[in-house]
């Protein structure tokens, strides 16, 4: 028996989570009402709400709010999609082939821990300040985590399943396609979730450096006008969008690999 942690999604658990968030916002609201802090340093939630409604209606710098959110999400999704498309097969191939693994390992291990923000100057130099350079940066910061995770997932497939395949006469192709790949899927999902977290960070960083739209840009731009309320709104939206992305992945995982963790 393994310890499975608190069961999420149970009514009591959800209720406690809601109360805890409400209490936090409530406390924040009261601090604002009592004017315990300058609104420049910590704007109260009601003020952020007013700004939110305002930019929702009029846009920020003539770009509607939903477009800022959409642009950021779009950049991230395209990059994540490409990273999974390239990273999963590459990682699986590395997990299966010792030669390929030895050939690519140095590059993967060099790039994976490298803060991708350091590549921003190069990305701009090579690809300009358009969408491509931003997508390229997010792609890179996601790719290596996916590659390493997928390669490791192959190694983690139990010896028992490999032997089972061999005993049933599986060919090499069948072994990979019918046994190793499906058995690796839960771990691949975990690595994609991790990678998306890293990629989201890079997105915002690259938007903060070179962009004219997107949530990261909005935060940076607002800070130069001392609009702390919009900065905080941007942070909240970024957090929510990241949370939503992760949630979508969790849902996709439950649909695709419902057996994960239940063997």
């Amino acid at each position: 028996m393994t310890f499975r942690g608190p069961k999420q999604g149970r009514p009591l658990g959800v209720a406690i989570s809601v109360i805890s968030v409400a209490a936090f916002v409530g406390l924040w609201y009261v601090c604002g009402r009592l004017k315990l802090m300058s609104t420049l340093i910590l704007p109260p939630p009601q003020e952020i709400w007013i700004s939110a409604v305002e930019i929702f209606q009029d846009g920020y710098h003539h770009i509607p709010l939903w477009q800022h959110v959409g642009i950021s999400l779009g950049r991230a999704m395209v990059a994540f999609f490409l990273a999974v498309l390239v990273g999963v097969p590459l990682g699986l191939a590395m997990g299966l082939s010792q030669v390929l693994s030895s050939a690519l390992e140095p590059f993967v291990q060099f790039f994976r821990p490298l803060p991708k923000i350091a590549l921003i100057p190069l990305a701009i130099l090579w690809l300009g300040i358009g969408e491509v350079s931003k997508i390229f940066l997010i792609f890179l910061s996601t790719l290596f985590t996916v590659v390493v995770g997928s390669a490791a997932s192959v190694k983690s497939v139990g010896e028992g399943k490999i032997r089972l395949g061999a005993a049933l006469g599986a060919t090499r192709f069948q072994m990979v396609w019918r046994i190793i790949l499906p058995a690796s899927l839960p771990e691949i999902f975990t690595s994609v979730r991790l990678a998306v977290g890293v990629g989201w960070t890079t997105l915002i960083a690259s938007e903060m450096v070179a962009a004219e739209s997107g949530m990261g840009w909005m935060v940076m731009n607002a800070s130069s006008y001392m609009r702390t309320d919009i900065v905080m709104l941007g942070i909240i939206l970024l957090g929510l969008a990241g949370y939503l992305l992760d949630y979508l992945l969790v849902v996709a995982e439950r649909v695709t690999v419902p057996w994960a963790g239940r063997e």
Partner: protein, 290 residues
């Protein structure tokens, strides 16, 4: 050592004594391809770093006639799993020869079904999908595979569970699926590595009865590894007792017990007690018998 080959001749007759008239031994058509011959099989595990090697199996020879149910009995770590992995084709012996149906084996093959300690079910396939895995990998049309599966679903008592996911099953049910999966292609030989070791006592007994039942209805030879003396006594035509590492054949005992065997009757059967005593002695002082 060489006495083992002589003794094996005693199990060529598979006519069971009729117990009380109510039981008639099933007319068993033994698969002639199920003969197993191990000739001076030795296995060493190499320790690549220090050049140290561990001898797991030493000079093991045995001849098993087609259709028999042979239990390989020994303490944990005596090399019985190694021997079984060699027979299954997962490992190559350091020296010696393994013949199945008269031919030297070169690796795993469809002539040997394997049931592992762990059920090793594929969690993304339903029960029925797990059972039909072998035929599917061999390229059988799905319909044909399903038709074949039906018989073994019935035999293993899985009727009604075909659409269940593996994680919805108990340990015993999972092992039934593993049995059906290995048996669906009707290999002449079934190799089993303590398949019931993790089950509770009651489930284990019902699984042992199930195993004998399916075995009687098929023509397979079974090599069954266990460390449980009572399990070996209940199942086997013949019990091979191994020494602790490195595993050698200490004793080769042909069971005097008829079939059907019922646990409740066996425990008061003097022949059962005598054979158990022999096995226990062999396990306590294996060196005496080499």
């Amino acid at each position: 050592m060489s006495g083992s080959i002589l003794k094996s001749a005693a199990v060529t007759s598979l006519d069971y004594p009729v117990d009380d008239g109510s039981y008639s031994a099933p007319k068993r058509k033994v698969d002639p391809g199920g003969g197993i011959e191990l000739k001076n099989v030795s296995h060493r595990y190499g320790d690549r770093s220090g050049g140290q090697t561990t001898e797991a199996v030493a000079d093991f020879s045995v001849l098993i006639v087609p259709g028999s149910l042979v239990c390989l009995l020994g303490p944990s770590g005596c090399g019985k799993s190694t021997l079984l992995n060699i027979l299954a084709g997962f490992e190559k012996p350091t020296s010696g020869q393994v013949l199945v149906g008269g031919r030297t084996i070169t690796g795993p093959g469809p002539d040997r079904g394997v049931v592992f300690q762990e059920p090793n079910l594929l969690p993304w396939r339903k029960v029925i999908g797990n059972i039909t895995l072998g035929p599917e990998l061999a390229g059988s049309p799905k319909k044909e595979a399903l038709a074949k599966a039906e018989r073994f679903v019935e035999l293993t008592g899985l009727k009604g569970f075909e659409k269940h996911a593996p994680y919805e099953l108990s340990g015993g049910m999972k092992q039934r699926v593993a049995l059906a999966r290995a048996w669906i292609s009707e290999p002449p030989i079934m190799v089993m590595d303590e398949p019931f070791g993790a089950l509770d006592a009651q489930t284990r007994i019902s699984m042992q009865e199930l195993l004998v039942d399916v075995w009687e209805k098929t023509g397979a030879t079974i090599l069954f590894v266990t460390h449980d003396v009572d399990e070996a006594l209940f199942l086997a035509d013949r019990v091979l007792v191994m020494t602790p590492r490195p595993g050698r054949l200490a004793r080769d005992i042909v069971s005097p017990l008829g079939r059907p065997r019922v646990y409740e009757s066996l425990v008061v059967n003097p022949e059962y007690a005598a054979m158990k005593r022999e096995i226990l002695l062999a396990m306590r002082q294996p060196e005496y018998f080499i």
